[in-house]
């Protein structure tokens, strides 16, 4: 059946009164960028690598460390963390998984299961040395990676840049960043900019382990360096990040989801953290995450956190089971914040009975015990003020669905508030009960997102009748809205439902979003 589509701008007036932009706030702790700005920047920077290098020489971290100018040792920290993490169960599983994959067939290129994978990600060095492959051991793919390298360098020889190759329903997307080549081979509906963004995330994940300067230095010294030596144990993070991106709309929206909490509760938690940590020097960010959702974020005045960096942090927390059992002291590079230096993070879960993760990020290397004390104080205070209970309650409660809101025609929705880089989505409800259906739905959202933000022809409103659902996407000045309806919904019903939804979000905005931006 042919999909029916209409882009009617006049509906703008019909949906909601102007001025209703739920979740909007002038204060924000996150850097608000469109994910596509990222893409644009990617495109320009990857062509002109030198310029990017110059820009990033001004280090944010060194700015904070007024007293210290000494270099960070090259290999100590990452290897340290690598060692602690290598005992991880998840990694063992992953290794076993990958071994299993390659056992099916010695040559992955002859393995049907491997070839049938929907999205492959490969990382290699400019010299063509394999660094990472998503579904098989990269050792087996030396020749394929050689071809990729050849493609990139061939185009580079003409002072040009290969971006993508389209063959049937398969897209080959290339990102060349610094000394690395990242390649996505995808059969999904994701667009080239979206895949480029994902590759950038992967690159940033590597930077967050190594820092940009270390990566450059390594390759400056030896062009055919085997980066796997430095990345040992980090493949797990990349694997997890890729899976994470496949099921989380946060990445392509470039936004953060907050844990719904009563505003009073949230401000109480925030105040507790501020009071406890106010005196600690060089503490840049205090982040409390629960279920991958942001409970609160306290920042050092004049510094902001980029959602991309927060996603990297979320990935780290979500992929590391070991963090649950013990406090850890982890060096981490936030590529958007400062790609050349490490931050040091005190990462711990609040308590056995409250699985919210507190991250205290500082530029000082040796304040572990100070931060550990602070954490204990925070937990005690929160327990006293019943905040832990509130967090638990919100975490354990099933997410509200659109049926609960009283919108029978609406199945699911993504709402992104542009000014605060936060988004909200309800829980999945039937028929989106299986993983395949959920992945399919996210794929549809990605398609809509791409069409709204298509660089060549951006749209403001899309109403599209698809095979199994009817979808609406709408970019207003303050928000982006992606709605999934019953396939048989009529246009007037859809418009009415959207307007009800916006009213509901407006009513609930204080609970669903963080509208202020606390600082130490």
């Amino acid at each position: 059946m042919a999909a029916k589509e209409s882009a009617v701008e006049t509906i703008d007036d019909g949906i909601a009164e102007p001025g209703i932009e739920p979740g909007a706030s002038s204060e924000t702790m996150l850097v608000t960028t469109d994910s596509f700005d990222e893409y644009e920047q990617e495109m320009s920077s990857s062509i002109d690598g030198d310029r990017q290098m110059k820009e990033s020489t001004g280090s944010t971290i060194s700015e904070i460390q007024e007293d210290s100018t000494q270099d960070i040792p090259i290999s100590a920290s990452p290897q340290e963390s690598g060692k602690t993490l290598s005992l991880d169960d998840a990694e063992m599983d992953d290794v076993a998984h990958r071994l299993g994959q390659s056992n099916i067939d010695g040559d992955p290129l002859r393995c049907k299961a491997w070839l049938a994978q929907k999205k492959h990600i490969f990382i290699l060095s400019q010299a063509g040395k394999p660094i990472y492959s998503r579904y098989s051991s990269e050792d087996k793919l030396v020749t394929v990676m050689g071809v990729m390298q050849a493609l990139v360098s061939f185009v580079q020889a003409g002072s040009d840049m290969i971006r993508s190759v389209h063959a049937g329903d398969t897209n080959f997307v290339f990102v060349v960043k610094g000394p690395l080549i990242l390649v996505a081979v995808s059969k999904t509906l994701e667009s080239v900019p979206q895949l480029t963004l994902q590759l950038t995330y992967v690159y940033n994940q590597i930077i967050s382990v190594l820092t940009q300067s270390q990566l450059n230095r390594v390759y400056d010294q030896r062009r055919n360096f085997d980066l796997r030596r430095l990345l040992t144990g980090s493949e797990r993070l990349i694997d997890h990040l890729l899976n994470f991106m496949d099921r989380e709309p946060a990445f392509f929206l470039g936004a953060i989801k907050c844990l719904p909490l009563l505003p009073s509760m949230r401000s109480s938690i925030t105040q507790t953290i501020i009071q406890t940590c106010a005196k600690i020097k060089n503490l840049v960010f205090a982040i409390l995450l629960a279920n991958n959702q942001l409970v609160t974020l306290v920042r050092m005045n004049k510094f902001f956190l980029h959602p991309m960096d927060l996603h990297i942090i979320q990935n780290l927390v979500d992929s590391s089971e070991s963090l649950k059992t013990a406090e850890s002291w982890t060096p981490i590079c936030l590529p958007k914040f400062d790609s050349n230096g490490y931050m040091h993070g005190h990462v711990s879960y609040l308590s056995e009975d409250c699985q919210a993760c507190l991250l205290l990020l500082t530029v000082d290397r040796d304040v572990f015990f100070v931060l550990s004390d602070a954490k204990q104080k925070i937990v005690e205070k929160l327990r006293r003020t019943n905040c832990l209970e509130a967090i638990n309650e919100s975490m354990n409660k099933p997410t509200i669905t659109t049926a609960d809101i009283g919108l029978p025609d609406m199945r699911h929705v993504l709402y992104k508030c542009k000014s605060t880089a936060q988004f909200w989505n309800p829980g999945f409800q039937p028929p989106y009960t299986t993983d395949e259906e959920i992945e399919r739905l996210l794929g549809l959202y990605q398609c809509l997102h791409h069409r709204l933000h298509s660089p060549s022809r951006p749209l403001k409103l899309i109403f599209q009748q698809l095979d199994k659902e009817t979808m609406l996407a709408w970019v207003a000045s303050g928000f982006e809205l992606y709605v999934t309806f019953e396939p048989l919904v009529t246009k007037p019903d859809a418009i009415e439902a959207v307007s009800k939804l916006l009213k509901w979000i407006k009513k609930e905005e204080e609970r669903l979003f963080i509208l202020n931006s606390p600082t130490f």
């Binding site: 009563l262 609960d404 199994k468 009529t490």
Partner: protein, 670 residues
């Protein structure tokens, strides 16, 4: 021998009727007369005393009459009640006759009015009216057989050299003027004479005493419903052998005016005789013993006023005729060949040849089968055949032959079809006129005038074409491509003439295309609406889906265009598992509240697609809510199994959702 004979036979396109009317030949005792009005041969033996034998196409009479002098002319009245006998130059005698009692013994007579007038002849016209032509004029009388009286009705004074009468059109042609170049035509109606415009025939210098036009060079006939004067003109050339002859046709319009309209080129000279068979003019040429055929309805070369025609086929002799004659014994019969084109032949209109010596009367007949082979121009042949009576079978046969000659004959097919359909169109128009009842007066004239022209044309309608030609293609001999081209050409021609194409033609072209697997062409035909929409056609298309997937959509589009096929469209969509599309269609035609939920739920269940089932189920829940204020299905809908199935699919998660009642959540009441 046989084969040879047949081969020879095939060449003759004219023949004499197989069973000639035999009569006593002319001798010193027997006088033979022929009445061309009633087509009766009178053999008068010894002035009638020893008997008068009358032979006609359907009579065979024998009677005696008194001998009152030599008979000049003898003719029965149209109803056979009165016999008119002319024995002198100045009077005509009448005797009553009845088949039962034979000839009455009382004769009554009528002398012509004009003194010194010589009777040139007489003809029975309407009923018992008789027209007597003298050298001083014509006189019309009414004979009353009961009272045995005669009453003069009309008369006209005119110097007359000779006259010709046509019993079909009741036209009398009078030759007048000293050189006989003036022709006066009279139309005889019951009790009256009408003068038509007089016309003159240009004449070359003639010998004194010889008329410009002689009686034997003139024939009256009715061609295609129009009375015509056929005039033979000899044009002597430099020397005798070089001279050629022409035939002029003067047509009579509405019994008012006479116009020279056609000219037939004979290209030979000598003695000629003219017959008319089936609206064709046949010119016998004695010297070459051949006959030529002309059809004035076929297009010729116009010089502005007159159409010049040439012979349709090359001149051929009449088929040899063997006369059955008694042999030496009674039982023995011999066949004796007759001399054709003999000097003893007398030719009468329209198609009679009499050999007075042999005592035979033949009708000359056309042998169309032979003629067909001599006309090579296909379009001309079809046109010619369309103007023949009873030629339908032959025309069909000819068209069938053309089909076997494909692709050579493909060039001519469009023109041939156009010719056929032009007649077909006019036939349909007159049918409609007839059904519409009596139109306005002035309309009648127009349509009858048009209808007149087509009355003589053969009608070959769609069903004829279909059952005899288009559906009879043999696969082995004709390329299927050709069949399609011919069919398309025929349909194009029909469409061009605004004739609705019958469904069986569409079906034929579609099945032919399908047979050839020319699905794309089929697609195009449908898309450009060459083939009219219909439900049977849509069903046929549906059945083709396996062979040509696009046929499915074509069928759906067609059903939609038909506008009355909602049920079918829904069924088709459901059968393809396009349940959402079916529901959208239902909604678009405003049938949401009537359709059976069960049907859609069953179809959705059959797809084994939980998401789809969910959508359909929710749709009907919303309908229930609207109709009954509850999402539950009514008992009558028998949807319990689907409710169960829905629970089975989404039970766990559904319950979770329902149990999710949090005080923090505020819902919008709808």
């Amino acid at each position: 021998m046989e084969a040879d004979d047949r081969g020879q036979n095939d060449d003759y396109y004219l023949e004499l009727s197989a069973d000639p009317i035999r009569f006593e030949s002319v001798s010193c005792l027997t006088n033979v007369f022929f009445d061309d009005s009633k087509q009766q041969v009178f053999a008068v033996r010894s002035g009638g005393v020893t008997g008068v034998l009358v032979k006609g196409p359907d009579q065979n009479l024998n009677f005696r009459m008194e001998d009152r002098g030599p008979v000049i002319s003898i003719k029965f009245s149209p109803d056979m009640n009165v016999l008119a006998i002319q024995r002198t130059n100045s009077s005509v005698e009448f005797v009553n006759y009845s088949p039962a009692s034979g000839l009455d013994h009382v004769e009554y007579s009528q002398p012509c009015k004009g003194k010194n007038a010589t009777i040139l002849g007489f003809v029975w016209t309407h009923g018992t009216e008789i027209l007597v032509v003298t050298d001083h004029g014509v006189e019309l009388f009414h004979v009353n057989p009961e009272k045995r009286t005669i009453r003069a009705l009309k008369c006209l004074s005119l110097g007359v050299n000779w006259f010709v009468f046509c019993p079909k059109s009741y036209l009398v042609l009078l030759s007048s003027g000293t050189v006989g170049n003036q022709i006066q035509a009279l139309h005889i109606t019951p009790g009256n004479l009408h003068k038509l415009t007089k016309f003159e025939i240009e004449h070359s210098i003639t010998k004194p005493g010889k008329l410009a036009v002689s009686e034997r060079d003139v024939a009256l006939a009715v061609l295609y419903g129009t009375p015509c004067i056929i005039l033979l003109r000899h044009q002597p050339g430099a020397n005798r052998s070089m001279g050629t002859a022409f035939v002029y046709i003067y047509t009579v319009h509405k019994m008012m005016t006479i116009k020279k309209s056609h000219m037939l080129k004979l290209d030979v000279s000598g003695r000629f005789a003219i017959n008319v068979v089936d609206n064709l003019i046949i010119v016998h040429h004695q010297a070459s013993k051949t006959s030529m055929i002309f059809d004035i309805m076929l297009s010729g070369v116009s010089d502005g006023t007159v159409m010049h025609h040439t012979s349709i086929a090359m001149a051929k002799p009449i088929k040899p005729f063997n006369l059955k004659v008694p042999g030496t014994t009674l039982s023995d019969q011999m066949y004796q060949p007759c001399q054709l084109y003999s000097p003893n032949w007398v030719v009468f209109q329209p198609n009679i040849i009499i050999d007075v010596k042999l005592g035979c009367l033949w009708y000359i007949e056309l042998r169309l089968e032979a003629l067909v082979k001599l006309i090579t121009d296909k379009v001309l042949l079809v046109e010619f055949l369309m103007q023949r009576s009873n030629a339908k079978q032959i025309l069909i046969q000819v068209l069938q032959d053309f089909m076997t000659q494909l692709p050579v004959s493909l060039m001519e097919m469009p023109i041939i079809f156009d010719k056929l359909n032009f007649v077909y169109r006019n036939y349909l128009e007159s049918e409609i006129q007839n059904q519409m009842g009596t139109p306005l007066q002035n309309n009648v004239k127009n349509t009858t005038a048009v209808a007149e022209n087509f009355k003589h044309k053969l009608l070959l309608d769609q069903s004829d074409m279909y059952s005899h030609i288009l559906s009879k293609f043999s696969e082995n001999t004709i390329e299927p491509k050709m069949i399609i081209w011919v069919l398309l050409e025929y349909i194009r021609s029909l469409a061009e003439h605004g004739i609705p194409v019958q469904h069986y033609l569409h079906e034929l072209i579609i099945t032919t295309l399908v047979h050839r697997k020319a699905y794309y062409q089929l697609h195009q035909l449908l898309q450009y609406h060459v083939v009219a929409d219909s439900k049977p056609l849509a069903c046929l298309l549906l059945s083709l889906e396996n062979l040509y997937p696009a046929a499915h959509q074509l069928a759906l589009d067609m059903l939609k265009r038909l506008g009355n096929a909602h049920e079918e469209i829904i069924e088709v969509l459901l059968s393809k598992g396009h349940i959402l599309a079916a529901l959208r269609y239902v909604r678009s035609v405003g049938m949401v509240d009537q359709v059976s939920a069960r049907k859609f739920l069953e179809a959705a269940k059959a797809t084994d697609d939980a998401t789809l089932f969910h959508s359909v189920f929710k749709f009907f829940e919303q309908r229930n809510l609207r109709l009954h204020n509850t999402t539950a299905f009514t008992r009558g809908e028998h949807c319990q199994p689907y409710v169960q199935y829905f629970k089975y699919l989404f039970q766990g998660t559904d319950n979770e959702c329902n149990s999710d009642t949090n005080s923090n959540v505020t819902t919008i009441s709808s």
